[in-house]
């Protein structure tokens, strides 16, 4: 899974530790993605300040069936590269961030998605720190450049892809710029 808390500094760090506690407790019951997201929303709604929220993607990977079942709660969409078509794109899925609706009304915004992988496919999870990295001209790295970078580096190993994308982001923002935000980047390559 991947998650991101809104805000920065002490309050964000505090919310993140609460989030990790909630997530670690919930996975003990091996819930399906929809149940996990709904329960996480109820639990986090009781501890987050009213103007704070958390985004997450929870995935269950079944290596026997070569399938992934997942639910997205307002987090950046999954970037997926298909080895057969050599094409990368974002997987469209509906969802709503955790802590935005703090009652049962949230449940209807949680959806189950499923995908099947083939050898050579690549799945990328990331946080908005990557997308919103800005260069000197205040231009964002953006979704398009990330997609192009994945297609360009697809022949490499998962670790090399991660490293190459990071280098692309740093090259884009330029030597004079610092990353404004923290970022996380996870690359899975299927054999």
């Amino acid at each position: 899974m991947m998650g991101d808390v809104s805000g920065k500094g002490t309050s964000a760090a505090f919310n993140m530790s609460q989030m990790k506690g909630v997530f670690h407790s919930l996975v003990l019951d091996h819930p399906q993605p929809v149940a996990f997201i709904r329960k996480a929303n109820l639990a986090l709604s009781k501890c987050l300040e009213r103007n704070h929220f958390i985004t997450a993607i929870y995935m269950l990977v079944n290596t026997n069936e070569k399938s992934i079942r997942y639910s997205r709660a307002g987090h950046c969409p999954i970037l997926y590269y298909r080895g057969t078509t050599e094409h990368a794109d974002y997987l469209a899925s509906e969802g709503l961030g955790l802590g935005i609706l703090r009652n049962d009304g949230y449940d209807r915004y949680v959806h189950l998605n499923e995908l099947h992988w083939s050898s050579g496919d690549i799945l990328v999870l990331f946080t908005d720190g990557i997308i919103e990295a800005k260069n000197e001209q205040q231009e964002e790295f953006g979704y398009m450049r990330l997609k192009e970078a994945l297609a360009l580096h697809a022949g490499k190993s998962a670790q090399e892809i991660q490293e190459s994308i990071k280098q692309d982001v740093y090259r884009f923002i330029g030597k004079q710029q610092y990353m404004d935000d923290d970022y996380t980047l996870l690359v899975l390559k299927f054999n």
Binding site: S6, N51, F53, L96, G97, I100
Partner: protein, 111 residues
């Protein structure tokens, strides 16, 4: 840098936003919405035509008023978002809970 201008109409108020909303200035947006609520306006419109960026702190402000708008039966709508700003609302899923339209006319018609 964020600038907020209040434009009062006969039966609604428009908050014109220009610049960027981030953690350092989201409190200004919060105050502007609070003030509009105190003014007992039944309709509050946000003109986001000149809004170039919104961080999670800005989204959090809109989010924190969802219940208040519902309880007080206030028509709240945003219009004129750039595709990049709209995408931020969309990815979080807030576009499902807030009224977001292209123009002020459309935003008024949705009430």
């Amino acid at each position: 840098m964020l600038a907020i201008k209040e434009v009062f109409h006969a039966d609604y108020v428009t908050l014109q936003l220009s610049g960027e909303i981030d953690a350092s200035n989201s409190v200004l947006l919060d105050e502007a919405i609070k003030q509009a609520l105190n003014g007992n306006h039944e309709r509050i419109l946000i003109d986001a035509t000149a809004l170039t960026y919104i961080s999670s702190a800005g989204l959090g402000v809109f989010m924190s008023y969802l219940e208040v708008f519902e309880e007080k039966n206030i028509h709240f709508a945003l219009y004129g978002l750039t595709p990049t700003v709209f995408q931020v609302f969309q990815i979080l899923g807030l576009d499902q809970l807030l009224t977001i339209t292209g123009s002020a006319e459309e935003a008024l018609q949705t009430s």
